[in-house]
Amino acid sequence: MIELQNIVKSFRDGGEKQVDAVKNVSVTINDGEIFGIIGFSGAGKSTLVRCINLLGRPTSGTVKIDGVDITALSARELREERKKIGMIFQHFNLMPSRTVAGNIAFPLKHSGLTKEEVIAKVRELLALVDLSDKENAYPSELSGGQKQRVAIARALANDPKILLSDEATSALDPQTTNSILALLKKLNAELGITIVVITHEMNVIKQICNRVAVMENGEVVEQGDVFDIFANPKHTLTRNFIRTTSNLSKVEQMVEEGLPGVAPQKGEVLTRLSYRQKDVSEPLISTAARRFDLDANIILADVEIIGGAPIGGTVVIFHGESSKIDQAIQYIRDKHVGVEVIKDARNPD
């Protein structure tokens, strides 16, 4: 378990001006989970994660790993502790003069393994990240995704219990990002390794994280279970991040652009329904349409599986008697589905 308690990290900005990169943040990360920290650049998430392996020492606050306060360790003890915390980076940080095998063997020096054992370990790790054929290649000969796989293998060389991922997919294309995320998820499932993921992409959180903390200006503005955060985002920043991953947010833009079929005709109401609970299985829209004698035209739908449960929603145009539309909206709300009226064309003024 990683316990960050009241972490403050301040920098002196050249002269006398003090910059608080992290302000009194407390986060607890449980064993075996994939914990995401999301925020824009400059939010303090990289600074915060560097407090976990003390690449940056917090100005105040405690960092406990499995109950041990690592800020109190000696330099030598800290180096031993760091071997149990792997880290991967946005720009991979592979040693250009060493081969793939040489890079993966880098942290195995002084590990007490014989030369043969090191070679065996390197091959085992290469197989784990699916790069067995690149053992003798140099980093410059690899693609971005392959480099990150090598970096992951290197980070796992000392069988760490924690893996810190600092924007590890931010320099990769979407397809490669997905394959790296799938690999991280596999490592979490197979090795039980705790993973802390820093990202500015909500997609990354959505795809692999169990819990998430949203950071802004050095503070955690919201944290919790990923499904809950997606279902009921409380902070504006969180909502903005979620918007970036959902097609449903495009509807406002589509209305503005006047795309045919999107704008409601006279007497119609354009709504967005969002599923916020894990057990939505009723055919709500068709039930409502039948019960209140309405036409429901679904123009957009986006449902995804997050944290094992479907989440998302639909954009629907309701057509029918004005009071019946209100009743239908109330009926759907009573079923714990969020209803936003995007454009109401019942009153022409």
Partner: protein, 226 residues
């Protein structure tokens, strides 16, 4: 063949033993001052790199002291350094003249230059590599040897090449303290006695020496480029 040579370079053949001695003296000066200077400059360059602000062993006092002293010695013209360091030379080497007397000023003349070259080579190392090594539990010593030095063999080879060639140039001035060497040989005979063939022979030897140093440096740098 021999006759042509005699016709072309009459004075050189006449002074041939002196010529060989001059080559030997220059060689000794470059090798000794170079070897000592290489070690000192490498150490100072590394110390500057690790003690700089945000460095792995940040230490403003040590950084500032080396920084200032390096600038100080770099700004003194070598010809002044040669005579100014005579007392120190006498103290360390037992003499301030001949080849032995030239080693100390040559070291002082080339170390600050090489220190800056090393510093510049090491500064090309991506800070991310250092951070990655730290995250893997490497000690400062391991980061110096396994990251800074190992990852900059190419740039360091180039820095050494440049310094060795400039050192070769400095030895030409060492004649001031009676150190002999090719520079002194060329001035004494080629210039003072107007024996043009001796000047030419010296220049040819120096061209060969510079080319060999450059080729070795380039070879090492190329072998370590990936």
């Amino acid at each position: 063949m021999q006759e042509t040579l005699i016709k072309l370079m009459p004075n050189l053949l006449d002074k041939f033993p002196d010529f060989l001695e001059a080559i030997r003296d220059t060689f000794i000066m470059v090798v000794w001052a170079g070897a000592i200077g290489f070690v000192l400059g490498l150490i100072l360059g590394i110390v500057l790199t690790v003690t700089k602000p945000e460095g792995i062993l940040e230490n403003r006092v040590i950084f500032k002291i080396i920084d200032v002293i390096t600038n100080l010695f770099r700004s003194i013209p070598f010809i002044i350094l040669l005579t100014a360091l005579m007392p120190l030379s006498r103290l360390i080497m037992g003499t301030a003249i001949y080849v032995r007397g030239a080693i100390v000023p040559l070291v002082f003349g080339s170390v600050p230059f090489f220190t800056r070259q090393v510093q510049s080579a090491l500064s090309q190392i991506d800070e991310g590599l250092v951070e990655a090594a730290e995250s893997m539990g490497s000690s400062p010593w391991e980061i110096i040897t396994r990251v800074y030095l190992k990852e900059s063999i190419g740039p360091l080879a180039r820095a050494t090449t440049i310094t060795a060639i400039s050192l070769l140039g400095l030895t030409a001035m060492a004649g001031v303290v009676g150190a002999g060497g090719l520079g002194d040989f060329a001035v004494r005979y080629g210039h003072d006695r107007n024996m043009t063939d001796i000047t030419w022979a010296t220049v040819i030897i120096l061209i060969i020496a510079v080319s060999v140093i450059q080729a070795v440096g380039d070879g090492i740098a190329k072998r370590h480029a990936h």
